[in-house]
Symmetry: C2
Subunit: 434 residues, 2 copies
Amino acid sequence: MMVNSSQSLLLKEIAEKTAQAARNLGGLSLSDRNQAIEAIAQGLETASVDIITANELDCQLAAKEGISQPLYNRLKLGETKLKATIKGVRDVINLPDPVGHISIHRELDEGLILKRVSCPLGVLGIIFEARPEALIQITSLAIKSGNGVILKGGKEALNSCQILVKIIREALENTKVSPDTVQLLTTREEIRNLLDLEEYIDLIIPRGSNEFVRFIQANTSIPVLGHADGICHLYIDKKADLETAISITVDAKTQYPAACNAIETLLVHQEIAAEFLPKIAEALTSHQVKLKGDKLTQNYLNIEAATEEDWKTEYSDLMLSIKVVESLEAAINHINIYGSKHTDAIVTEDKNSAERFMNQVDAAGVYHNCSTRFADGFRYGFGAEVGISTQKMPPRGPVGLEGLVTYKYQVTGKGHIAATYSGENAKSFTHKDV
Amino acid sequence: MMVNSSQSLLLKEIAEKTAQAARNLGGLSLSDRNQAIEAIAQGLETASVDIITANELDCQLAAKEGISQPLYNRLKLGETKLKATIKGVRDVINLPDPVGHISIHRELDEGLILKRVSCPLGVLGIIFEARPEALIQITSLAIKSGNGVILKGGKEALNSCQILVKIIREALENTKVSPDTVQLLTTREEIRNLLDLEEYIDLIIPRGSNEFVRFIQANTSIPVLGHADGICHLYIDKKADLETAISITVDAKTQYPAACNAIETLLVHQEIAAEFLPKIAEALTSHQVKLKGDKLTQNYLNIEAATEEDWKTEYSDLMLSIKVVESLEAAINHINIYGSKHTDAIVTEDKNSAERFMNQVDAAGVYHNCSTRFADGFRYGFGAEVGISTQKMPPRGPVGLEGLVTYKYQVTGKGHIAATYSGENAKSFTHKDV
């Protein structure tokens, strides 16, 4: 108990220091922020050997404890990955400045000017599982957007995270950005305490498994940028071009099955089921995809039954559930009930059906005649992807740097007071956009 | 127990019906939505006498139970207020359409087009205290923006709410908007259940006291548009024009002290304290403002001591706490610690200080040489105000109709698949804005 409360006190101090440093960062020019990012890139280059050594230590310890191969691969940094990550840091320098963008500029009355200006959020809480390069990426994006970061990595990556943050903070010493902008937490208990710091932390970005993200979302009142599930659908309409439908289905399921934008359920209009199902089954089976189907699908294919549970499952694997639907409406309903508001697509040559689908499906991405796999910040041309959000309010879908800023209203007057604009002789506002 | 669970089941059914109706509404043209709003205006006009009679019944019952005068005034509709409200409904017709606005339009590759399009949120949960005209306003704004509404009014306004919703639903019968778009809840228990319906309700808008809003915020995981506190500050810099400072202080405190954008604390730079404090005390006292001050302020004024508690208090009344600060930084720090991120202002002739204040104060509104009382959707020229948000993420500050919409990404292709853009012979994206 005493340990916890002193720890949470310490964390509060760290958070307060970070918030203070972030406020100073928020006032710096773009070139000051970019210089700090370049200093980080150089620091990482110079210390490459040390970083790789520390990471190898993590890998050895992890291997001894018998972590899974995929987790090991994510943990392993190595020279190639480190070089690519440092290149990624320099790419951030070339991104447009997300801060200071004016989205409203309006004269309210003569001499009374309203501006809505983008500004940093403040302090980001970044909680990630194994991957140490995530720490580097998100820190450079945070500095670019004028935010402080409090980082918490998985325990497997402890040595890697410690040396990375040490190098980053040392690199910042000779820049206008305070080293206090970047903080590392190292104990598991601190995650819980971090989630309670709504006074200091403005946004939590979790990077990890669905369960991990779900835990974070359920245990904080701080806004969370992320998604737990990616249950994406592809609906093959009765007016679909079947060759297109096969090509998109195979791509959306097999091009990278572990991705959140891969499909989990295929919906097929009953009028084309007899012709389409055997064809798509052959194509998918040749890609090692295991199929499950509802009763109607089983009339055409000799496959395992799909249960209610399947419609709610993100396989993240070479597995696909198939359902035959009687109409476009039935497809839309199924998606709105079981989907996770991530990305859902229709294949059809009928423009009206496509429009209806895109209007009525409630998801961050609604696609027509293309693969759900395009749902990605880089593919959208954002230059960076901070996360993918499946919540309803913006930012929604793939989120670039603009997800790390908010805005404030600046009003400048010459002694203007509200009394002038109310009562009997009330003056009118001009409301002229500048 | 049985009552509760059957009630929550019933509420779920209502919510599902509303969501379905809202989805249809979301697909309607602007003119269909506007026609529905006009039908509501006409319905209210025709039934004016019945509405006023029902409202009078509410007022009589409330008076018998001895409710406070301000609450009674808010409850009372009367002919003038009703007429003004119906005019407000017709004003909504003239607002620009918030739905279908394209904020990104980009070619990802030949024939592969990305659009970011604004769309309705879905279903709004509106929980308000006494004022029955809030029901009318918010319902017309909801229909304009393509959203369903589930309404819950205070028990004092029960008869008013019931007749209003009955008339609105009847008016919708002859339009393309389904009456199921608008639902009324009438029991207090239903509020709790409503707050748990994150599956169906996309945004909660509370209208009422600070305690009321705080209760809602603390008891739902659904996004809440609103603010609990409005602790706004005015800082008088050492380079302030003192006449301007006096005029703005009096306006910001007295023009409408119960408003959330009125100031609660005045910060005064020590270099001008001796000259400014007696003058402002005289001006404020002549407006019946009661003053409290910190030790330094008490050196100049014979007033009650302001305690730590005062810096955290929204008086909503003719009361003001005053603190003498040693620097601009001290003023900024005080505001960032005690402010509620609503609206804070500086009076100064020094442009650099103004800029620093506006950069470093963390609030939805940062003002220079004008009254905090301008923080208002109508004054900003939004045509409507849905609420004022003090959260960090957008929408922030006064929120107009755009607070009732979100966006989705629509991607249209011609059979495009992700495999084309990865691997050895990966094609490049064009990323050309259209």
